[in-house]
Amino acid sequence: MRAGSRSQAWRSRRYRWDLRWSPYAFVAPFFLFFGAFGLFPLLYTGWAALHQVELTDPDAMTWVGARNFTRLLSDEFFWNALRNTVTIGLLSTVPQLLIALGLAHLLNYRLRGSAFFRVAVLTPYATSVAAATLVFVLLFGRDYGMVNWVLGLVGIDAVDWQNGTLSSQLAVSAIVVWRWTGYNALIYLAAMQAVPPELYESAELDGASRFQQFLHVTIPSLRPTILFTCVVSTIGATQLFGEPLLFNGGGGATGGADHQFQTLGLYLYEQGWVNLHLGRASAIAWAMFLILVLVGGAVRLLRGRGEGR
């Protein structure tokens, strides 16, 4: 009897202990790994950006204050990369999201073989940056590429996709559009299916055509989702790296002979792992982050104004 009550007391103590601490045990792995490989490096980047650090000897850090940052301001390649990131970002994000919206609208119809179409348009998502870019390099080849061959059929002269500024940026954007349009279409499709059907019914009673319904019911209902995809695509566009690296063929991290498609992500890599200046690479990373924060702030401001009206 006494032994039983003692073991019961022990059991209930263990039970309370379990109730109290196991939640922490369950979230601990995430925070441990995140702390070591996410948060610590994140904070340390700011510190590294204030030093001269070379890849060859990462332990030897010399304090240089804000020099890595001031240097960026007068660095033409930095501004070039920033410009390229913005134009390639626009060239890839805007068409991608517009096409995805139209595609989602089509997928939202009652379709035969809808599962097939959904999987088919998502397939590029399963392709790696590396594989996709290598294929597109060939498709965009100047002399024997398929794109120029098709253009030739309709009487357009061959375009030197790799060496022009706009043409190379268009080609790099095409890879991004190809890989991500289907993915975004599925996200829009999910949001479209959550739109209450009554909205369409009342619009139909008001005599709205299908296109008007799309404009005045679907698009407004999708606003949060559209904003979400804009944010995600913008973040993705600032980080663009693999496409411009490999679109250069064997040419390395310069982003073309004239740096015509070198993005910020690629410039960071070139500074850090080709030119071996880790401190400067950190400063570029911070500049990229600042730009994102500024864009985010601008979006917020615009949105606040729109809702205030």
């Binding site: 070591a36 490989f37 490096p41 990462p58 959904r118 973040i235």
Partner: protein, 274 residues
Amino acid sequence: MRALKAGRLTYVVLGLFTLGSLFPLVWTAIAASRNNTRLAQTPPPFWFGGNLGRNLSVAWTDANMGTALLNTAVVAGTVAAGTVVFSTLAGFAFARLRFRGQRLLLVLVVGTMLVPPQLSVVPLYMLIAELSWTDHLQAVVLPALVSAFGVFFMRQYLAQALPAELVEAARVDGASSLRVVWHVVFPVARPAMAVLGMLTFVMAWNDFFWPVIALTQNGSPTVQVALTGLGRGYIPDQSVIMAGALLGTLPLLLVFVLFGRQIVGGIMQGAVKG
């Protein structure tokens, strides 16, 4: 859900989209089955040639594809398994358990999703260099083992799919937290775990930025890193490069053929809740 029937034009346009989505992949296989000379001619080939076997074997040896594929499978498999288990545990804690600091920690998890990975890449490299992990697979596995998106995804799923009464009932029966996880949470979470696992696997398989930096010496590269090496020769053999691209893509295409519907469902599910 609106159920307007699709007209013929819809099928035509969707057919074109399908063609656009699949054509570069099909053409990879066509180019991989030709030779370099044929690829340097117009019009480009539209049908298969007889060189596939030769190109695959050259790509296999030149880029060390066997090792690379094995490495990538190990990396993607471990990352997917770790992410799924850790995300389910944390997601369960956030969805159904109560503890001090819960809200704050959840905000922290969601907040980490907004931070771009470049921001930590330099110190992360310094860290793995310090640990002598460069060119070792743990350099790409360990930092990817947990995912804020995964935690959030599992939390949202369990908050909806796991009734609080079910957990209570197990508690009343005297089950410890670990038993609850094993006998209640994991079975309920299985569909979401499968989807998260596949999404993570695809992402880890295709990851490029960090592996290119961390696996610099090509000692034990992933497929993606190995592919960048294939194009570096003086006169790159395009058909061999295409064969390499094909080898790196085929395993994922297989996953897509088998589980495409579930992956589509998972992306759409995550989109509505996220």
